[in-house]
Structures are given as C-alpha cells and as structure tokens.
C-alpha cells in the first residue's frame, strides 16, 4: 500500500448518501466457499473461507431482515456451492416471509428431487444452474468433477418438474466456445427461461489460468455473431444474456454498475464487499455484519467509499466524458493488471496499458492452452497467488 493511499484512506471520505447513492438493489450472499467442483475460473478469492468461520443461520436471517429494511429487492444465494449448507431451506423460507426475491446460484450436483421440491414450497423463485460445457467429458474435465454434467442435466429436469424457472449459466472460453450453439440448444431442450453466456472474466483463479481460457478475437467475433442471431431468432422464447471478455471490448464494463452504487456482496464469514472479487485488492479493509449493521456499512465502510463516485479517479478517467457511464471500469482488474486499483481498467481502449495487455492476451490465445490450475477447496499447494 502506498503512502498516498494511506492518507486518502484516513481522510474523511464521502459516504453513500453524500454521493447521492441510494440503498443497494440486491445482495449477493456467498453462503459458503465449500464446493465439490474445482472450476479453474472460479470467482471466489484464492484464500477460501473454512466452514468454521461461516455465518450461522440466525446471522444470515438478521442480514436478510436488514436487507429488506434497507429496501433491497433481491438476494442471490451463491457460494462456493450454497447447497452444502443444511440450513439453506431456513434461509430461503426467511427470505420468502420477508418478501426478498430469491435466486439460487448452484452447480446442482448436490441436489435431489425432494430437496428441490422443498425449496420450491418454501418460496424459492429461481434457479441458476452452471454448465461447464455441452460435451460430457470436457465439462467434467473443466469442473474437475466426474459425472457432473450428466447430473446437471438431471437436476435441470427436476427443477422444471417442480415448475421452478431455470437459467443455464454457461461460462464460455476457448476450450468450449465452439459449442456455443449447443449451449443455446441445450437451454431450449431443458426448457430454460434464460441462458447466460458469460465469457470468463480474468481475476483471481481465472487470471492465473488466462492462457488456458482466453479466446482469439476471431473466436470471439464468431461467438458474438451466433449470440446476436439467436437473440433475434429466439426473441420472446429464450432470454439470452451475453458477457464478452472485456479485454476485447472498446469500453470497459461498468463493473457492478459502479463501485458501491447498486450491489452488496457478502462473503461466508460476514464481510461486506462492493463486489465478489474485491478481496483481490489487498489494501481494502472490509467491515463485518458481526460488528456493524449492513446499513452502516453501506453508508460508511471505507472499502466502499474509497472508489465511489469520481473524485478518486486519476487521468485518463478523470477527464473522460464516460466517467459516469463506466465508472473507470473494474477496480479489481485495474489492481490485477496494473498494480494500482485507482488506475483506468486496462480493458478500456484509452488505458495506456490496453494495447500491451490486449496483445499479450491475444498471443496467449494463439498458443496451445496450458494445463489448468484447479481451484481446490482447502488445498494450498496449487493456489495461484
């Protein structure tokens, strides 16, 4: 951490309301970092939280109460794998009673028909099921879980049998991008309402594995064509959300709708983060719901206020007319690729580092993909950082 950052950290930072920011819209609740899969692009931090540190059922219920009182609309029950928690049913029920829209983001492999039926009865509103590929063998290799893909196809059927709506979350990259049309067809065959085609985003685990995942610009263009055509053909039948790898975008993504503007992320031990990757920024200190209220944290937490608004921006962001459109892009990506979270996200074509990083990634994409570094829970020796 640089001394000027220390100073700005101790200076009185503007709070959420001083920035004119209202209550957050949704809460991403990482109930646990435990997961039977080992996807090498996992969005969890590389230092995974142990079971013993996880919030209790009552602590999550209190968080839900606070979220509703603040005016939040939705909760995404995520992980790791949220179904490893035996109190998932209690948590879902509590959300329903309080009127929070519940979305379960799961790998599915631990689910069975009875549990799904129960969750639906308790008011679960939507299931997002992850898929690693449409090819059985390759899917299991990417997820590091034998029999996973076949199980997921079964789970999808169970989801629809209890009439829960389904989104297929498909993470695409150079090792499955040729199956893009099959992903869309799979979503249709599984009677999904929605399919998310998300290119890998490169932080933490995924950044370490970037060379294994990043597609060539040509592969990406082809993929985008397929998605655009499918969107027209399937309008009103299947919602297709598409996220491109922002290395190849002209403008950076307006990550999380701007730092600390719309969303909250909570990790399993109760720390409140502006986004799920924020732990990759080493100088950020996170407040915990075990010590402070959610409302206080949203309003005052230094981790939020440090990069809220535009005051913190250096050039070229400061003088850019898009600064309140993409808010400087992604702080975590700026940290990972430039060593300073305040820098312009190199995904932006105006970033002085854009060309260099783009060229490096495109070069990686042309070489043979290296072996994966798997995300293994509780195993440190292959930890990417």
């Amino acid at each position: 951490m640089k001394s000027d950052e220390l100073k700005s950290g101790s200076k009185q930072l503007k709070t959420a309301s001083e920035h004119g920011i209202q209550a957050p819209l949704a809460l991403l609740a990482e109930l646990s970092h435990r997961c039977p899969l080992q996807c090498p692009y996992c969005s969890n931090p590389v230092q995974l939280e142990k079971k013993t540190g996880e919030l209790t059922t009552d602590e999550w219920k209190s968080v839900i109460d606070q979220a509703v009182d603040m005016g939040m609309h939705q909760i995404h029950l995520s992980g790791g794998e949220p179904t490893v928690r035996h109190d998932l049913e209690d948590i879902v029920e509590h959300c329903t009673v309080k009127g929070l829209y519940t979305n379960l983001i799961t790998s599915g492999v631990l689910l069975n028909p009875d549990r799904l039926k129960k969750l639906e009865k308790l008011g679960l509103e939507h299931v997002q099921l992850s898929f690693q590929d449409t090819d059985n063998e390759n899917a299991d290799r990417i997820g590091g879980y034998k029999g996973g893909h076949a199980k997921k196809l079964e789970v999808a059927k169970w989801v629809r049998e209890v009439e829960l709506p389904l989104t297929c979350n498909c993470v695409v990259h150079r090792q499955n991008i040729d199956n893009l049309e099959n992903f869309i067809q799979m979503a249709l065959d599984l009677d999904a309402e929605r399919v998310e085609i998300a290119q890998v985003q490169y932080y933490g685990w995924a950044l370490k594995n970037r060379a294994a995942f990043i597609p060539t610009p040509e592969q990406l263009d082809h993929a985008t064509e397929i998605v655009e055509k499918a969107r027209v053909d399937l309008k009103g039948k299947l919602v297709i959300d598409y996220v491109i790898p922002d290395y190849y975008a002209k403008h950076p993504k307006n990550c999380m709708g701007g730092w600390g503007r719309r969303f909250l992320n909570m990790n399993p031990k109760g720390e409140v983060l502006p986004c799920h990757a924020a732990e990759t920024i080493p100088h950020l200190k996170f407040d915990n719901v075990r010590e402070k209220s959610l409302k206080w944290i949203w309003e005052n937490s230094e981790a939020f206020n440090l990069y809220r608004g535009t005051d913190w921006m250096p050039d070229p962001c400061k003088s850019c007319d898009r600064k309140e459109i993409d808010w400087g892009g992604c702080r975590c990506q700026a940290m990972a690729l430039t060593g300073d979270a305040k820098n312009t996200d190199p995904a932006c074509s105006i970033s002085p580092l854009h060309k260099e990083i783009f060229a490096m990634a495109a070069e990686e994409a042309r070489r043979a993909p290296p072996e994966f570094i798997y995300r293994r829970y509780g195993v440190r020796f292959n930890s990417p950082i």
Binding site: A23, M70, H73, Q74, N103, P165, R194
Partner: protein, 95 residues
C-alpha cells in the same frame, strides 16, 4: 418451448411464475422482479399491472382504466398493448 405471445384485445395476460410484481415497502415503489432483473415502473404502468391477474383480458383492463381515467378506451388500449407487448418480449408477461 414457449411460443411468442402477440398481445391483443382478447389476451388474458399474467405474470410468469418467476416474475413478481411487488411493492417494496422501504422504497414505497412498485417494481417487477425477475432473475437478475429489476424493472422500475411509471405510475401508468403500475395502474395497468395492478389489473393483470390472468383472468381479465386486455380489453377489459382497458375498459376499466378508461372509466377510471375518463379517457377513450381505444387510446388507453393502445398504451396497454404496447406496454404489455414490451414486457412480454422480455419474458415478464405471458398468457
């Protein structure tokens, strides 16, 4: 697989199971909630959607609103159809 819904006078619109039209108490506002979607609504849309229950038709909704707001039914129905079609195309309304 669903078919595309074309909204007309006789369609009886409803919200799909996963779509919630809900009043947020803390914010005192009506919104549509769907997976990773939040639709903020203007007062006219709220009035229309309060009548959507899968039992009444677009025509009946329009008649209702034309009385309530003392405006010609044809004018109201044009707005109703346009709004519901837009929501239907996004997967927020079905029959």
């Amino acid at each position: 697989m669903k078919d595309i819904l074309k909204i007309n006078e006789s369609v009886k619109p409803k919200f799909p199971k996963h779509v919630r039209f809900r009043h947020n108490k803390a914010r005192d506002e009506w919104v549509i909630l769907a997976p990773e979607r939040l639709v903020k609504l203007d007062p006219v849309a709220v009035e229309i959607l309060k009548l959507v229950d899968g039992k009444v038709s677009v025509g009946e909704i329009s008649t209702d609103l034309s009385k309530k707001f003392n405006a010609p039914k044809e004018v109201i129905m044009k707005d109703v159809i346009e709004m519901l079609q837009e929501l239907s195309d996004k997967g927020f309304i079905e029959e």
